[in-house]
């Protein structure tokens, strides 16, 4: 069993945040191995459906990352991401999931250190909340038999 290691889905935009994550990697910065990074062309591509699907498949937390305001490669995609995350938080509240399981961060391509710091902080935040009630169910059900590493908990 051991310590609870959260499973965190990270949506990273192609132009800033994914490059930031890459910089953290090539610079050998240390952060918890709790993340599954999904690259999207723009944070504005992330929809409430993506985030809810992550939770349905057993994520304990979801982090949406994009370019800083004003820096979006597509001018205003990150403003859409901001609205999407706020709206999805309201849906999570209705579903009875803690809204702190979802977070939005702006991380530029130069901010490798910031990427590592945010990952560390968010992992702690989700760890404090404990496993998602849906994850507990998902590991028992056969519906999600393809999920990886259920032995973490």
């Amino acid at each position: 069993m051991g310590e609870f290691r959260p499973r965190i889905v990270v949506f990273a935009c192609n132009w800033c945040s994914y490059a930031g994550a890459d910089l953290a990697g090539v610079s050998r910065m240390q952060y918890p191995p709790t993340t599954r990074v999904i690259r999207v062309m723009c944070s504005g591509r992330v929809t409430p459906g993506f985030i809810l699907e992550s939770f349905r498949q057993g994520a304990d937390g979801v982090l949406v990352t994009g370019c800083h305001p004003g820096d979006c490669h597509y001018i205003s995609g990150n403003e859409k991401a901001l609205a999407t995350v706020e709206r999805t938080k309201r849906l999570l509240h209705l579903l009875g999931l803690e809204t702190d399981r979802l977070r939005l961060e702006w991380i530029s391509a130069a901010e490798g250190a910031r990427f590592a710091r945010v990952m560390t902080q968010f992992t702690e935040q989700v760890r404090a909340l404990g496993p998602s009630p849906l994850t507990e169910h998902a590991t028992r059900s056969t519906q999600y038999a393809t999920r990886d590493t259920p032995h973490h908990r």
Partner: protein, 375 residues
């Protein structure tokens, strides 16, 4: 279920190939390549794979207009839903509207979630945790979030329903443990998820001690009335649509005068599915001073609102919605009243697109009655 069995159960084997279905289909009017007749013919000819891998499988609104015209009594919507279950079994799904957020929510509600969905209840309303009458709210609290951009507040329907019930001396049970009724999941071909939601809902209602369940949403009502008994057996409680209940006690509502001209849009699942045409009209006509005018297509001939199952929204849906709104406009009414929260969302969406061109408002029947009650 094999396709031979589907054809038999939905009476599709009796198809005369007459094409009345295609002639009446609202989808065909906008998209002439779509034909219910040809769709059934393909399967009758032993080529169901042509249907399963065709977008036309997801085009049907299940509005049941064709069934009312069919001389052989073919239940085309039931055929389509059964075919969708087959398609889903082979991994084929439709193109979901709103990036599948509704499908995700329905899927999440099959899991052990502890929801906070009764936040719309305010101080003056009388609701209970246990009691004889259960008010099944449906997905209104979720619609408020998803359709905030349209300017539609769906939980108004829930608040007004409780006010109307309170006026009749009914203190309904509302529960955080209520789930989506699953109707749309079934329309998407997910019978497993539908069954799960049905079981969870029936358990929640049974635990509240309710003997009667009241619905403000025709789709939830139809799911409980037609689909739940078929899938999970007889229900341990009575189900009633709000308009049926209110029409029986219309004298006790204390409706005040409103000087307006309105028209009434029949939701498919209240009208053609349940045969409830006159109760909503009786309620509207009970309002002193209010004039009810009928659209050219009303009651069993009424046009669908253009979208079902959050799966087939597009240009075709818009075309149907605009046609219906034009019919409403032609009556000279200032408001189109509907008894379905989803019809209201769909028509408001279309109205937002056309702007001032069609000067009509869409209102839920509960909203109209609540306004009249305040007079």
């Amino acid at each position: 279920m094999a396709f031979e069995e589907i054809l038999r159960q939905t009476r599709s084997l009796l198809c005369l190939d007459c094409g009345k279905c295609t002639g009446t289909c609202p989808v065909t009017r906008v998209d002439p390549t779509y034909s219910p007749r040809a769709t059934i013919e393909r399967v009758l000819a032993g080529r169901p794979e042509e249907l399963i891998n065709n977008d036309h499988l997801w085009a049907c609104l299940t509005c049941r207009l064709c069934t009312t015209r069919c001389p052989s009594g073919v239940d085309y919507p039931a055929f389509v839903v059964a075919a969708r279950v087959q398609a889903r079994g082979t991994g084929v799904e439709g193109t979901y509207a709103h990036n599948a957020v509704m499908q995700e929510l329905m899927g999440l509600m099959t899991l052990p979630v502890k929801q906070n969905r009764t936040g719309w209840v305010s101080g003056q309303m009388r609701t209970a945790a246990q009691g004889e009458d259960f008010y099944f709210v449906g997905c209104l609290p979720y619609f408020d979030v998803i359709f905030a951009d349209l300017g539609v507040v769906s939980t108004e329907v829930a608040r007004n329903t409780v006010r109307l019930l309170n006026r009749l001396g009914i203190t309904p049970v509302v529960s955080d443990d209520e789930r989506c009724c699953g109707s749309d999941l079934l329309l998407n071909g997910d019978e497993v998820g539908f069954r799960r939601l049905a079981e969870l809902n029936v358990r929640t209602i049974a635990e509240s001690g309710a003997k009667r369940v009241i619905f403000s949403c025709p789709e939830c009502y139809n799911a409980f009335r037609n689909d739940y008994p078929r899938v999970i057996g007889p229900l341990p409680f009575e189900v009633v649509h709000l308009t049926e209940l209110l029409a029986e006690h219309v004298g006790e509502l204390g409706l005040g005068g409103l000087e307006e001209t309105v028209t009434y849009h029949d939701p498919c699942r209240l009208g053609r599915y349940q045969g409830i045409y006159e109760e909503p009209r009786a309620l509207i006509q009970a309002i002193p001073g209010l004039e009810l005018v009928e659209m050219r297509k009303n009651r069993a001939q009424g046009l669908c609102c253009g979208t079902t199952g959050w799966v087939n929204c597009g240009q075709c849906a818009k075309g149907i919605q605009i046609t219906r709104l034009r019919q409403a406009q032609a009556t000279g009414a200032t408001r189109m009243i509907t008894a379905c929260p989803k019809c209201r969302i769909h028509f408001t969406c279309a109205l937002n697109d056309v702007g001032e061109e069609i000067p009509i408002e869409v209102e839920d029947l509960t909203g109209l009655l609540a306004r009249s009650m305040e007079e």
